[in-house]
């Protein structure tokens, strides 16, 4: 596509040159295959869910009188709660970044 309005500035040529040259010298391009973050996030969600499920299972065992230490169960619940809060914070940050991008003037 030709950019007639800005052609006099020589922007098109400049852009082509940049595209041909690739990233500037000394810049490392980290290969980020699609879905790396979402895969990590899904994994973390699974881990948090596993913690919650385990806490619930030990709570159930405790309530059914199948032994177990009350303080261990409470600590498991606390750990599950903390990991869920961490997950919620990560989600908040990601959403903030997304909204920031969506607010960008184009």
């Amino acid at each position: 596509m030709a950019l007639e309005a800005v052609a006099p500035v020589g922007l098109e040529q400049a852009l082509r040159a940049v595209a041909k040259a690739g990233p500037p010298e000394g810049t490392q391009v980290v290969s980020a295959p699609g879905g790396e973050f979402s895969a990590w996030f899904a994994r973390e969600v699974g881990a948090v869910n596993g913690g919650l499920v385990q806490a619930e299972a030990s709570m159930r065992a405790m309530a059914l009188g199948q032994g177990g230490n009350l303080h261990e169960v409470m600590i498991q619940l606390e750990e599950a709660k903390l990991s869920f809060q961490l997950l919620a914070q990560v989600r908040n940050r990601v959403l903030e970044a997304y909204q920031e991008v969506m607010r960008t003037q184009v």
Partner: protein, 144 residues
């Protein structure tokens, strides 16, 4: 910093204090259990706690373990309490029955010590939990 490690340390303290309470309860429960002879009478137990080394040297990021563990419950050699009960099946030739030499006052004190130490461990754990929750406030909307 690994907050789960902090929780584990406090949990080990709680487990030990729970064991201390159980041992005091065992001693109190057996306060009046007669022994067949002065030698076979129940001996009051005493809990021995042992510190788990805290590997602190240099690697702040890899703080692991620490805490306390139960080294065992050892019987304390106390003189049995001899009571004159001639009709008792376990009475000896002099009509004396041996009862464990449980120190009632000391056991009541042990109960209180275990309770207070347990509470202190809970407070320490809650402090760690509050610290972790505050960490999650970093960069938050309502964090000052």
């Amino acid at each position: 910093m690994d907050y789960a490690a902090t929780f584990r340390i406090s949990a080990s303290g709680m487990a030990l204090e729970k064991a201390r309470l159980e041992i005091a309860s065992v001693n109190i429960a057996n306060m009046n259990s007669a022994g067949r002879s002065a030698d076979s009478v129940f001996k009051p137990l005493k809990l021995v706690g042992q510190a788990v080394p805290f590997p602190f040297a240099g690697h702040f990021d890899h703080v692991r373990a620490g805490g306390v563990r139960m080294a065992g419950a050892v019987p304390v050699e106390t003189a049995p309490r001899l009571v004159h009960e001639p009709g008792h099946p376990y009475a000896n030739a002099q009509g004396m029955v041996a009862y464990p030499g449980v120190d009632h006052t000391a056991e009541m004190l042990n109960l209180n010590i275990a309770l207070r130490a347990y509470e202190a461990n809970v407070v320490a754990l809650n402090a760690g939990r509050t610290m972790a929750a505050r960490t999650l406030d970093i960069g938050g909307q309502n964090g000052a």
